[in-house]
Amino acid sequence: MTSTETTPFREAPIQPGDLLLSIENLHACVEENEILRGVSLQIRAGEIHALMGRNGSGKSTLSKVVAGHPAYTVTAGSIHYRGQDLLGLAPEDRARSGVFLGFQYPVEIPGVSNLEFLRVSCNARRQHRGQEELDTFAFEDHVRETMAIVQMDPAFLERSVNEGFSGGEKKRNEVLQMALLEPLVAILDETDSGLDIDALRIVANGVKKLALPTTATLLITHYQRLLDAITPDFVHVMAAGRILRTGDKDLAMALEQRGYDWIEEADGSDTLQP
């Protein structure tokens, strides 16, 4: 998994309904522990998916394996992104080609300016797409405009990446990065957690604005609140490293009312994944 000079693949135009992300029977472990035990999931352009499940069921692990976190070893199965083997790419190449992960716990990086970080990453993605790079001035204009989407104060540009940001500020910074990188597949891991009511609306609006007929979104969440604002096409429930059940938005409502026990008892017999 080394970073290559030549771009792995150019971005061809996408039609609504194109298969963007295809996960087949994915098994992954950390050290000796198997955490993902056969996850299968297909995500098409124009779709919004929600992934729910108890704490520790493996949702973040799935998202990190897709993004290429080195702590996890894939022991079986595959992930294809637009028909290409994603597992063969370094994390930076996955990001450049349009896969985005909004972290459940965004990382603080002391001493690295948020502005420079955003500029370098935005330009890495632009270069991959064959767009011209933005110099510091052009980027600053661009980032200020984009910050308006998440109503973030430009003062955050001057600070170190996520350092001392409140929980909600970190999440907004994640959505800002997503807006700058314009991913084709965005996985947002509990981006709604820790947000106050106004911030939740702002973030939900931001995510909706970025969800296009040619992109796809996977929202990992514990709460119906977010799904009230963004109606998912599919709702998946994860348990013990597998997707146990798939339904539509009503499944999320049922979970909100009844919890997870009934699903685990029924054991996913009525899965309706397309």
Binding site: S3, E5, A67, G68, H69, P70, A71, A90, P91, E92, R94, A95, R96, L101, F103, P106, V107, I109, P110, G111, V112, E116, F117, R119, V120, S121, N123, A124, R125, Q127, H128, E133, S160, V161, Q177, L181
Partner: protein
């Protein structure tokens, strides 16, 4: 430093002392008294156990000279006539005869609040003796500085408005031996911002020595950028005497030297003063960067904030020894020391040691030391945003350095040499 058994270093030192004595015009007979009583420290001495002097003793004493080159003053400094950028700022560079002149070569026009020390007021070596206990051997840099003849820059600072003094040394010729001596007396309430820029691009030795006496409530902010090259040696000695309510802030960044040994000594003569020591050492290649600091509290309620950060890569080696002396008279001392280290290669080395000598019982003294490599989670976060691994690693290293560099004054950041510390600016292209 008593072990002088190896003959080569001893021969080297004797030749050096003879040469330096000739410089002062005295021939071998004019050798400073006592110079024969000391020798070069060996690695058998505890304070030198990690630090090899080979880089210094590779200089050829018989070919030494005091030649300097014109420092590459940043534009903002250069525009000003007569070295004076503003009425309260003075920029000086060391010339080939050990004098400090303005970049235009003239003797300095003294800004308000700064003037040469009245003769007979205080002699070189006098502050030093109030800072380190009598009977202790001087640190090597100060010892060598002391036996090198040459004028010293003695300055008196007065008035509450801050005065800025920029001192630049540029060694570009092989076998240069530069041992400037600066003596500062800050009157009560006076404020001085002293910025050093030391650069050596040839096999040379730079041995600066600073003595400073801070009166009641005086403030000295000293910022140093010391940038060397593989054959160059830096041996610094600072002796700071602090009166109550005075503040001494020292921030320094050191990189590139074959050998650097920096030994600041600070004494809060009656406690009740503030000392801030912030150091950054970046040891790449085969660089050996050593800081041995000592802070004495001779009275109650003194405060120390110390942070030393070192990065070691390739075969680089960083040594830090932070000594803090808190005797019984120093009740209510509040001292904290932190040594943070980034170890980036298996052949690099970090040696860090706190040395807290605390006798007083009602004190708050903390210390900590960490050695780590780049954080995997930080690297992954950057990579997950499309930033290549090498570039991510450079960003994180820079981030580590920034934590100290951000304390340097804006004017220090104008020097282009800083780019060599941060390597090439992070390019956008992966």
């Amino acid at each position: 430093m008593s072990n002088v058994t190896q003959s080569r270093p001893r021969l080297w030192l004797e030749t050096l002392l003879q040469v330096l004595a000739q410089w002062s015009g005295g021939g071998a007979a004019g050798q400073p008294a006592g110079a024969r009583d000391w020798g070069l420290p060996t690695r058998r001495s505890e304070a030198w156990r990690f630090t090899d002097l080979r880089c210094l003793t590779q200089l050829d004493p018989t070919r030494l000279h005091t030649g300097t080159a014109a420092p590459h003053w940043p534009e903002a400094f250069r525009q000003a006539p007569s070295g004076q950028v503003s009425p309260r700022r003075l920029s000086l560079q060391l010339d080939g005869r050990g004098h400090w002149l303005s970049p235009q070569g003239e003797p300095p026009p003294w800004p308000h609040g700064l003037m040469p020390l009245p003769t007979g007021d205080i002699a070189p070596g006098q502050v030093l003796r109030t800072v380190i206990p009598s009977g202790t051997l001087l640190p090597l840099g100060a010892q060598l500085n002391g036996v090198t003849p040459g004028p010293s820059l003695g300055l008196q600072v007065s008035g509450p408005d801050p005065v800025h003094l920029d001192l630049a040394i540029q060694a570009e010729h092989a076998q240069a031996w530069l041992a400037p001596h600066v003596l500062l007396v800050l009157q009560p309430g006076a404020r001085l911002c002293l910025n050093w820029h030391v650069a050596a691009t040839a096999q040379a030795a730079v041995l600066p020595m600073v003595e400073a006496r801070l009166g009641l409530g005086a403030q000295l902010e000293e910022a140093t950028m010391a940038w060397g090259c593989p054959g160059a040696a830096f041996l610094g000695g600072s002796f700071i005497h602090q009166s109550p309510r005075s503040v001494y802030r020292r921030t320094n960044a050191t990189w590139g030297w074959g050998l650097s040994r920096d030994e600041p000594f600070v004494r809060q003569s009656q406690g009740q003063a503030e000392t801030h020591l912030h150091g950054l050492a970046v040891a790449r290649g085969q660089s050996l960067l050593d800081t041995h600091s000592t802070v004495y509290f001779d009275g109650p309620a003194g405060r120390l904030r110390q942070r030393h950060q070192a990065l070691a890569d390739d075969r680089g080696h960083s040594v830090f020894n932070g000594r803090v002396v808190v005797p019984r008279v120093a009740q209510q001392t509040d001292a904290s020391q932190l040594s943070r280290n980034l170890l980036l290669s298996t052949k690099a080395r970090i040696d860090t040691k706190p040395q807290l000598e605390i006798v007083a019982d009602d004190v708050q003294c903390t210390h900590g030391a960490t050695v780590s490599c780049l954080q995997a989670d930080e690297l992954f976060y950057l990579q997950s945003r499309g930033i290549g691994r090498d570039q991510a690693s450079r960003l994180l290293q820079r981030g580590f350095c920034e934590e100290i560099l951000q304390r340097l004054p804006q004017s220090a950041l104008l020097w282009p040499s800083l780019q060599s510390l941060l390597e090439t600016p992070v390019p956008d292209q992966p």
